[in-house]
Amino acid sequence: MPIEITMPRLSDTMERGTIIKWHVTEGDEVTAGDVLADVETDKATMEMQAYDDGVVTGILVSEGQPVDIGTVCATLADEDDDGEAPAPPPVEVAAEVVAPAASAPAASPAPAARRSGGRRITPVARRLAEQHDIDLDALTGSGPSGRITKKDVLAAAQAGDEMKAAVPPSATPPAEPAPTTLAPPSPVEAVPATPVTSGELALHADDRREPVSGMRQTIARRLVQSKQEIPHYQVSMAFDMDAITDLRTSLNEELAQVEVKLSMNDLLVRACALAMSRNPLMNASWDGDAIVLHGRVHIGVAVALPEERGGGLVVPVIRDADRKSLRQISAETRALATKARERGLSPEDMEGATFTISNLGMFGVEHFTAIINPPNSAILAVGATAQKPVVRDGELTVGWEMQATLSNDHRVVDGATAARWLGTLKSLIENPSTILV
């Protein structure tokens, strides 16, 4: 019996997954535990493993093609099949065993369609999609094995026309920089969020339409939802960073022996977590007819991903950051950021944040605002710590200063609450020894 490898459910909210890379090809022998493919979900990129030993007899889903959970993505021939097969020439035996396994589940056109380098799309559907400027990746095929047919494209074209008629183009929300931190400089952040309605832009000769990844779609969906549903307002404050800069310098001198280097962001994570535990009204979520006050403080840290991995943005979570030491926070943040950039985070790494910090300081940004990461009710946009002309004790002098802007959900947090929280943060940062204990 062929073993079917189906698209697994890798997170609670996952409905579809995309195989972004196959690590096996037809004819490969695999053993249980081998990585078969990288699967991109709405949240993360994860490994799809083999649970059985066998030979890959069919790759039924092509790279980049989103499929529903449970869709058969590949088939394995059980090694036992070979054992039971009759004696005659080995080639024929293999053919007898393999052929039904490969052809049965995915009617004949599957391999051909895969080789053509994409999803199953009929020629006329492809042509009509070009004519109507329809994004085929956004369509679900109604034909056999998800084949996109003329009907699907014409339906999308009609829906597009109706949407165009209903929404004037100016209604697209203005682009804000995506919140980010910690990542090496990359121009990804400069790209405005993808509009939710796609396939409407006229292409000029020098333009290029780049299909978006699952992650980019998730970013687009969540941020549009956030910006549309949450009544945002911003509160900014300047922070005297002299003391904390000195503290960090002296700590790092001490810790250099054990090869630990605290970043300013680590100190900020800890400070924000402490500010939360002192102002529990900020550590909350809007829930329709109630406000949920979170009992624990989990700080999300926005991390930009390198462009060579497709760019984008993830928010790993430092759990119970108010109860963790600076060194723990530093080590965890570093590990998660590395994992995010190199292998991709698991959903657990990104679940449950009650507050988010986005830091563009390392790019020299002094001031910006961030979009709230639902279901948080606030996000802190942190600028660079830089030397500035400042007034200290009535004297104009040069000092280290940082600006931070808190975006709040006005349904949950009123201005005074936000201001008080920023005041607490300011007191912690400017008297940084309190952060240590």
């Binding site: 009929t122 020629p123 006329v124 559907a125 042509r127 034909g143 047919t149 003329k150 009907k151």
Partner: protein
């Protein structure tokens, strides 16, 4: 003047008109003269043209086909009637190996203006050896033309063109259609070989067929129209040359194509049409061309099994539904 006559009479009118016009034209075959034709196609022709031009032959297809080819090579224009195309198989060498190649092999010195005609396809419980559809088998050979009328009007016009043609023309008729009546002008007329006709205009799916199955396609189109699928039915009229342009123009409009061919599917007229549609209309197709053929078995004798084996209305409806994603 137009009157309603039978298919067999339309065929006879084409032959008689040609024989009156052109003294080189003659008819030969089994029972064509004294018996007025096994199926009464040549009724009255012996009386009008005499035994030198309406010739009864022995039951020897290879012999009389070869004799007629020789006559054609030397300047006459024979019409050879096979009682059934099934019987032409014993004359395969003259009709396939000599007639279509003669012009080529003689370097243009000897043409072969000859018409072979007779009943093709299932006649109704004639058994496997007498139920041949030869179109796929014979159309494979270069140098010949093949016409396959589906109604009396086309029968007269196409056969008239065939007799005037300087190449060997194979005219495929159907025993099941000889009594079919239709409006046919009394005067002579030609229908060009190699031109198809749209029998029923439609927007949702093109059905291409030839000969008798055109009628099944028309029935299927009516059934499907009631389901909201508006089919365009194309009667190919000729198999060789194949009117690719008319077929392609229709498929470019409908984006779907079903071919109905009464021969077996492997290496067939249907597979040729499908290949050409895929070549000419690749970017216009929303599904691969679907084909309806004889089932891949020798014709059964039992009536119910024979009907099931043939390309019937039900099979065509199923193919159109599947092709248009309405299954």
């Amino acid at each position: 003047m137009v009157r309603e006559i039978e298919f067999r009479d339309a065929l006879r009118e084409a032959m008689s008109d040609a024989m009156r016009d052109d003294k080189r034209v003659f008819l030969c075959g089994e029972e064509v003269a004294q018996y007025n034709g096994a199926y009464k196609v040549s009724r009255g022709m012996l009386e009008e043209f005499g035994p030198r031009r309406v010739i009864d032959t022995p039951i020897s297809e290879s012999g009389f086909a070869g004799m007629a080819i020789g006559a054609a090579m030397l300047g006459l224009r024979p019409i050879v009637e096979f009682m059934s195309w099934s019987f032409s198989l014993v004359a395969a060498d003259p009709i396939l190996n000599n007639a279509p190649k003669m012009l080529y092999m003689s370097g243009g010195q000897l043409g072969c203006p000859i018409v072979f005609r007779g009943n093709d396809g299932a006649g109704g419980q004639l058994g496997s050896t007498h139920s041949w559809c030869v179109e796929s088998l014979y159309a494979n050979v270069p140098g010949l033309k093949m016409i396959i009328p589906s109604n009396p009007y086309d029968a007269k016009g196409l056969l008239s063109s065939a007799i005037k043609d300087d190449n060997p023309v194979f005219c495929l008729e159907s025993e099941r259609m000889l009594a079919l009546k239709g409006d046919v002008p009394e005067e002579a007329y030609d229908i060009p070989i190699g031109k198809a006709v749209v029998r029923r205009p439609g927007t949702d799916c093109t059905i291409v067929s030839f000969g008798r199955p055109v009628h099944f396609a028309m029935e299927a189109a009516e059934t499907l129209a009631a389901e909201g699928i508006d089919c365009e039915v194309i009667d190919g009229r000729s198999i060789k040359p194949l009117d690719r342009e008319t077929i392609a123009a229709s498929v470019r409009k409908t984006n779907y194509c079903v071919v109905v061919d009464q021969s077996w599917s492997f290496s067939s007229v249907g597979s040729e049409v499908a290949a050409e549609v895929h070549r000419l209309c690749f970017d216009d197709l929303d599904n691969h061309v679907h084909r309806v053929h004889n089932d891949d078995v020798p014709a059964p004798y039992a009536w119910n099994l024979e009907q099931e084996m043939l390309p019937n209305t039900r099979k065509i409806c199923e193919a159109v539904r599947a092709c248009t994603y309405n299954a």
